[in-house]
């Protein structure tokens, strides 16, 4: 079965650079969630979109922005990167704004030097 696709899988950036992470949800899933998992930590919710509109907002820094496009894929844009942004970034998708089960992608590992 098709799963959530994230690209790139690994990314190395320098401080103050920008990064864009992409997420392609499972076909027919209309809701996308972004989570950040720091080293040795649990995933923390950043932001979500349902039908191309922002549905919930968590602990996403102001330096980050995201959007969901007409084909339901989503992009997380990260600017003025800091060392502390180094983490595993997960995208998850579900069906419907109140979707019960979120299916996670493999994650993008971001390293900021």
């Amino acid at each position: 079965a098709a799963g959530v696709i994230q690209s790139p899988r690994h990314l190395i950036k320098e401080k103050r650079e920008t990064a864009t992470l992409k997420c392609y949800p499972i076909p027919r899933h209309d809701t996308v969630y972004w989570y950040q998992q720091g080293p040795g930590q649990d995933p923390q919710f950043l932001i979500s979109f349902y039908e191309k509109m922002q549905s919930d907002k968590g602990s996403i820094p102001d330096r980050f922005s995201a959007q969901q496009f007409s084909d339901y894929h989503s992009e997380l844009n990260m600017s003025s990167l800091e060392l502390g942004d180094s983490a595993l970034y997960f995208c998850a998708s579900s069906v419907g704004g109140g979707g019960e089960t979120q299916y996670f992608g493999p994650g993008t590992r971001l390293l900021v030097l």
Partner: protein
């Protein structure tokens, strides 16, 4: 506010023995409860969920969990552990009756090691 507690950072069990990974939650209203497993350098894999109905839910790979409302617990269990079950397990809760209802709140994770 909703929260999840996994009181054990590490659980060790011998292969073939039953395993339990504990989870308790705090949420207003009716919780949606989930278990995910994470293998090294991999994403989170959905194992099972409780939404409503029978308190005992069965999931992937022979895992099951029991929802206990009075104890606000949702412990993960398996009758006979396999070495391949060794991984990091996360319990998560959604609070559909509250603001921010659709995102998951995760516990801190429990590392399960099954000893051959």
């Amino acid at each position: 506010a909703q929260s999840v507690a996994q009181p054990e950072d590490q659980v060790n069990v011998a292969e073939g023995n039953p395993l339990t990974v504990k989870c308790t939650y705090s949420v207003s209203g009716n919780p949606y409860l989930f278990w995910y497993v994470q293998y090294p350098n991999r994403g989170l894999q959905f194992l099972l969920k409780y939404i409503t109905g029978d308190n005992l839910v069965k999931g992937s790979y022979g895992f099951e969990a029991e929802f206990n409302k009075s104890q606000t617990s949702f412990h993960l269990k398996k009758p006979s552990a396999l070495v391949s079950d060794s991984a990091l397990y996360f319990c998560a809760v959604r609070a559909p009756d509250q603001t921010g209802a659709n995102n998951l709140f995760f516990g801190t994770g429990t590392r399960l090691t099954v000893i051959p």
